[in-house]
Subunit: 409 residues, 2 copies
Amino acid sequence: MPRGWKFRRTNGGVTAAKGFSAAGVPCGIKVRKNAPDLGLILSDRTCSVAGVFTTSSAAAAPVRWCREVVRRGAARALVVNSGNANACTGERGERDAAAMAIATAGELGLDPAEVCVCSTGIIGRPLPVEKVVAGIIDAAETLLPDEAAAHAFARAIMTTDTAEKTIAVRAVIGGKVVAVGGSAKGAGMICPDMATLLSFVTTDAAVSPAMLRRAVRFAADASFNRITVDGDTSTNDSLLVLANGAAGNRRIERAGAAFDQLAAALEFVCIHLAKMIVRDGEGATKFVEVRVRTAATQKDAATVARAVANSPLVKCAINGCDPNWGRIISAAASCGARFHPARAVLHIGGKLAFKKGLAARTPIADLEAAMKHKDIEIDLALGLGKADATVWTCDLSRGYVAINADYHT
Amino acid sequence: MPRGWKFRRTNGGVTAAKGFSAAGVPCGIKVRKNAPDLGLILSDRTCSVAGVFTTSSAAAAPVRWCREVVRRGAARALVVNSGNANACTGERGERDAAAMAIATAGELGLDPAEVCVCSTGIIGRPLPVEKVVAGIIDAAETLLPDEAAAHAFARAIMTTDTAEKTIAVRAVIGGKVVAVGGSAKGAGMICPDMATLLSFVTTDAAVSPAMLRRAVRFAADASFNRITVDGDTSTNDSLLVLANGAAGNRRIERAGAAFDQLAAALEFVCIHLAKMIVRDGEGATKFVEVRVRTAATQKDAATVARAVANSPLVKCAINGCDPNWGRIISAAASCGARFHPARAVLHIGGKLAFKKGLAARTPIADLEAAMKHKDIEIDLALGLGKADATVWTCDLSRGYVAINADYHT
C-alpha cells in the first residue's frame, strides 16, 4: 500500500460518517456516580462489518458473540458497556451478551444478529444485566448523528483512560467524499482488570464485507498490532469497523485505487488511535518508537522490535532518561531472532549509540540530551537483510506500578 | 531423578570441597573504594568442568572463552571480575579475556587453557585490564582453602546484589563423603547494566566431564532456568561446575546410583542459589512460586508458568497483595499455549480462586489473607494432560523501577 497519503481531519468520531448516530449514557456499572458507561452506535442502513479480536483462549462472551456477527458480515448497531468485561463468566456470560443484543435490537427494531456487543472492565464478575438493559433503553432514546454524541460515546467506553480517544478524516473515493472516524479505549493492554483495547470505526464508504475485512486486517497490522504497553493481551480486545455505503461511492468489491484509498484512510485512523493509547499508557511519561531495520526476515524484525519495546529494563531506562544502549542490544540479542552485534547499528533519538559491536564515540551528553525528549526514537539496523518493523510503546514508571499494585479487586 | 533427597548443610561455599582454595580482593574496578571485585578459585588437581551459558547472541568475550574450556572438559582455576562485563567490547574484549587467563595461569603455574574466565558489570566499556591483572596477583597470594576465603570470593562477585549467596552440602557417594558448594550473584537477569547471573559450584566428587555435563544440564534446568526476575537475559550469564575428584570416590563414568546422588546434590545446591537470587531480585518484596500442572505438554506447562511469572500485571498485583486472579488467567490464556478456562483450576496460597471458567466462592478476605504472606504460591491446574512446570519469581515494585530508572550509565 502506498505510504504518505494525507487526509483532511474532520470533526466527530463515530458520527463523522453519514448515516451513523451515537449515544453515551450512565447506567450505573461504574462506581463513580453518573460516569457514562454505556455506548451505542446505530446506522440508518445495513453495514458491512469486519473485526479483529483478541487471540486469548479466554476470550470473553461478547467477543464470541461479535465473531459470529462478523462472520456473517452484516450489522446495524453496536452496543458497549464499560466497568464489567463479562469475561470468565461462563454460560451466564453468554446469555448476558445475547441479552444485550436482544435488548438493543428490541429498542431499535432490528434483528439481534445485526447487533455487535462489547464489554470492558473487571473480569470474572457477572454482568449487572438489568442496569445494562436500562442503559440501552436510555441510550436508544438519546441517539443523535452529531459530534456531541460521538464524544459521549467515546467517554462511555473509557475505563482507566485519562483522555478520550477520537479522530475522523475525510477522503475522496471514486469521486465521492467519504468519512472514516472512530474512538478507542485502552491504557494498559489490560490494566487494573478494568481495561482492554476496544476500538470502533465507522465509515460511509460502500465496500463488500470481504474487502472491508481485508482493509481492516491491513489497518490492524499497521496499528493496534504494533503497540505494547506491558506486553499483556486482554480477554476482550476488539476492533470493529462498520461501513454503511451512505457516501454513494461505487461499492468496492475488489483491489484497486478505491480500495487502496479506503484502506489507507482506515490505517491512518487506526494508527492515530493506537498511538493515542500508547501515549495514555498507564503511568506513561514518554512515547517511544522502536524501529528495527534490515532484519533477515519480517518475523525477526517484529520479534526484535517487540523484545526491545517490552523489556522492563529498556522501559525503565527510558523513564530515567538514561541512554542505556547496553540494555537495548542485550534485549535484541536474547530474543531468539538472528542478531549479530558486529553488524548492528543503533541510533537513539537520531544519535549514533552503538556501531558494529562497539560503543559509538558520540558524547554521552548528546545521547542524554536525546533521551530528555518526550518522544524517543530507537532505531536499530541489524544489517542482516531487508525486513523492517516498527513498534510503539511507552516507558515503565513508578506510576505504572502504583496503578497496578494499589488497585484492589 | 528421584526427588526429596535431603542433604546435610555444611560450612564454606566454593571451598567446602577438598582441594579447593579461593580468594576475593579489591582491584579498583568498582567505584566504591575497597569493594572486593576480583575472585579466584584454584583446585590442587585437574578438574572435570562443565557449564551452561547465556543464549544471547551478544555473549560476552569471557563467555566465549569459557565455552572453549568447557568443550575441552578440564580446568584448574577460575577467575572472575565484577564491575565490568567485558561485553560488546569487540576484539579488544577477546584479548582482555585471554589476558585474564594468561595472568592467572602465570601466577599459579598453569596452562591458560585450564583457566575459566568470567566478568560481570557494565556493558560496552573496555575492561581496565591492568587493574584486573594486579588484582589477580593479589588474589593468587591470598588463596586459602577455608570458609573465610569462600565468603571473600562470594562478595567479590556481587554487583547490585544486596546479600551474599552461598551454600554447601555433603553427601555420601560410593561410600565416600563428597562436598558440593557454591556461590552465585544476580539480582535482575540484567540489572543496571551491572548484573547478570553468575554461579560457581565446586565439588570433590570424581566424575567424567561427560557425566558432569549431564548432571549440570539437569541441575540448571531445575534451578536457574526456572527463575525470572524481569524476563531479561544477560550477555554474561554463566554456571560453571568444577569437580576435582579429591573425595576419592570411584570415578562416575555412567548412569547409576552414584550419578543420581551427585546430580541430586548439584540440583539441591543450584536450586538454593537460584531461589536466593529471586529473593534478592531488584526491588523484590515477595517470593513467588508459580506451579503449572496438568498441561498438555511440557512446553505448554513451561510457557504458561513463564507467562504468569513475567506478566507485569500479575507481578504488580502480588506487590499490592491483590488476589487478582483475572490477571493470572488472562496471562495464561494469551501466551499461545493450550489453555481452556473451562478446565482450569487456580489456587492462590492454597485457596481456591477460580474453577472451570468461573470465580470461586472463596471469600475475598481469605484470598487477601493468602496474598499478605511474603512467600506466595500460585498453583494453576490446566486439566489438559500430565505435564508440570514450576517457575520462581518475585513481585514488581516501585523499587524495581527506581533502581532501573535512576541508575545512569
